[in-house]
Symmetry: none
Subunit: 406 residues, 2 copies
């Protein structure tokens, strides 16, 4: 399908704004109750929904809970079952680290370990970015090589960091099992290799865990490391080249910037801390004339869901709704609001549930959906679709696709 789109894409003056509210889809806390979206007071999204077409997207497939990488790849039109990219590679690229052939990037979480190495907090109380940098400094001092392999440690944000193993001459495999058990009350797992080239990588990972715990033994809260997502370097058909778009990424968290960069978007500078919504809007305004396509990422709708904080997720949705008029003031020819997956507070994790999709252009039909909520989206004219349908729909609504066949 990417080849078909590439053949049909044409350059026009129209502008597309894709807003990704990370993990926005939710669940009611009680049977037949309201979700976070339905609970939120969102006058601006409501008004937009009444001029727009709604539907639902499944990012990977029925019943499949997408990670953020596959979820975003799907939104960008890349079948996530075909284009597989590890979170480690995303994170590394997101912080500007270049990966070469044979290098492996690994994504880490700082954790709090108790008696018997039992995990008490998989995010070590979400340390500040300053604390993160301090801990990374300690690790860099303690671990610069293991068994002759170069080890690089990079700070990401809060509890997240990235390790890159470089073994020039002998390529490392990335087919290694997670150290992170994705549960508390149990100790970290031992990494195991699933193929021969990954044997060395598993040893490096386990060696890193051991030496990191030794180096952090004096820390009260940030005293352990968990790994999941090992990856070598993926290759993508370039987003700009497939769609004929000058595309910009407006995001503040490294992984999202990394993903956008991997597919070929320009990653714009965003001023501000954490989600930096004000800085994102400013970046969008400043870059508006220079690009045709904007990927605008809002993170906190996901984080609050992961924390199981229903009311705070509602609040983050309302915060986005308040800034929506500034986005609409730019008069995008096509605006979409969507998520990369659902993150119901009830589950405190990503989930398989479809995500509501809204598309507003001058070429929409009337539909019955009146709000950007899971329930209303079911009434929308766009139906229930794969996430990879989104980019062709946005291109079409922007009148950027030629007719297929005579």
């Amino acid at each position: 399908m990417l080849d078909t789109i590439r053949a049909l894409a044409k350059k026009t003056e129209s502008k597309i704004l894709m807003v990704v509210l990370d993990g926005v889809g939710g669940l009611p806390l009680e049977l037949n109750g309201d979700t976070e979206l339905a609970t939120a007071t969102t006058p601006n999204m409501d008004a937009l929904a009444q001029q727009a077409q709604l539907g639902q997207v499944e990012l990977v497939g029925a019943g499949i809970t997408p990670g953020s990488g596959p979820g975003h790849l799907s939104l960008f039109g890349y079948d996530p079952l075909r284009y597989v990219v590890g979170r480690g590679a995303l994170s590394a690229v997101g912080i500007g680290v270049k990966l070469g052939a044979g290098d492996v990037a690994v994504r880490g979480n700082f954790a709090t370990l108790g008696e018997g190495r039992v995990i008490q907090d998989r995010r070590a109380g979400r340390p500040s970015d300053e604390k993160n940098a301090e801990i990374v400094g300690k690790l860099r001092e303690a671990i610069s090589e293991i068994d002759g392999v170069r080890v690089e440690v990079y700070t990401e944000s809060e509890h997240r960091f990235v390790v890159v193993f470089r073994n020039p001459g002998v390529p490392l495999g990335a087919n290694v099992s997670d150290v992170d058990p994705q549960a508390t009350g149990v100790p970290p797992l031992t990494a195991e290799a699933h193929d021969a080239p990954s044997q060395k990588t598993a040893e490096l990972v386990n060696g890193f865990v051991q030496r990191a715990e030794a180096a952090l033994a004096g820390e009260p809260q940030v005293n352990g490391v968990l790994f999941r997502g090992y990856s070598d370097v993926p290759h993508f058909p370039n987003f700009d080249e497939v769609y004929g778009l000058r595309a910009a990424c407006i995001a503040s968290y490294p992984m999202y910037k990394g993903l956008a960069s991997l597919v070929g978007m320009d990653v714009l500078e965003v001023e501000g801390e954490e989600d930096a919504l004000t800085g994102k809007v400013a970046a969008l305004q400043q870059a508006w004339d220079r690009y045709d396509f904007f990927y605008f990422h809002v993170k906190k709708t996901d984080s609050t869901g992961e924390d199981g904080d229903f009311h705070e997720k509602v609040h983050k949705i309302e915060l986005f709704d308040e800034l929506l008029p500034q986005l609409l003031a730019l008069k995008p020819d096509v605006i979409a609001i969507v998520g990369d997956h659902s993150t119901p507070s009830k589950l405190k994790s990503h989930s398989w549930h479809p995500v509501p999709l809204l598309i507003r252009s001058d070429y929409g039909r009337k539909d019955a959906a009146q709000r950007y909520t899971e329930e209303e989206a079911q009434k929308g004219s766009l139906g229930l679709r794969r996430g990879t349908d989104l980019m062709p729909l946005l291109m079409a609504n922007a009148l950027k696709l030629q007719k297929y066949g005579a």
Copy 2:
């Protein structure tokens, strides 16, 4: 999927009538307004919809605007991304021209050129079929061969004609760029070959354009030619053999007859000019006992959309509605109403929007859709589907498909 259907198809006495209202899907002129279908007064379709099941079809894929060829192939069950057929081949076959290996058929439009060869009207004011035949006569006289290659010119209708190049011994390629820029105010493009076997074809096309303009220099309106859609001969699994149906095509425009003929349907004679609805109904009545499947094509719902004439498109829909009782009087076991793509008057062109689908048989469930309109179809039980789902659904509703597996 065609292999599966072929294995399951069984012959029965039941009859299927597939009505294709060309380009029937539309858009409102203003936000949240009514489409052409919703505006039309259609008591007969309304009554049918209340006994039928509705849904929406996408003929090629999300966001993809289908040409008439791919749109129809999808309706007939052939994946249009797999079965690629040029408009030239369709047009040639539709007027009874046999194509051999190595021949290339090209579809032409007569155009009006002004000062500096600038295109003033891409359809030369839609000349009458008589004028078309007169111009084709002039071209035949002026151009019977170019560089030793045989050149045949055929009239199609209105502004459309077909050229066939035959170069026995040395096959011609069909991978040539369009002469038609699909815009006015610019001169025709020079055809370019995209591969070596098409080099000769590009030269033939450019030579034809030059000689045609010389031959038509005295004409006030029909004084230029535009080409798009070059094709050699495609091969299809035979419709009758896949579905076990004796299938008949009732259409008046050459391209639709050509397509039906390519997949193996019998093309019935239709009396009358242009859309010839009365002649089509008569042809259907006369052939009713001899076939199991009828493809009944209505063209003007598309032409009026392409002309951007909302009210005339509404009128053409109403004209079809008036003759619907004559179709129903034949008591088809299954009747479907569908389009091969949308052609909103607002866009004056084909579009990517899904097309409403109606299926009436004795084996339908109650659904919420009350009219054959885009908005009501969204409420229908058939959902939003690919066009290639239609034939299996019609076969099933006609009780012509055996169980799959034990």
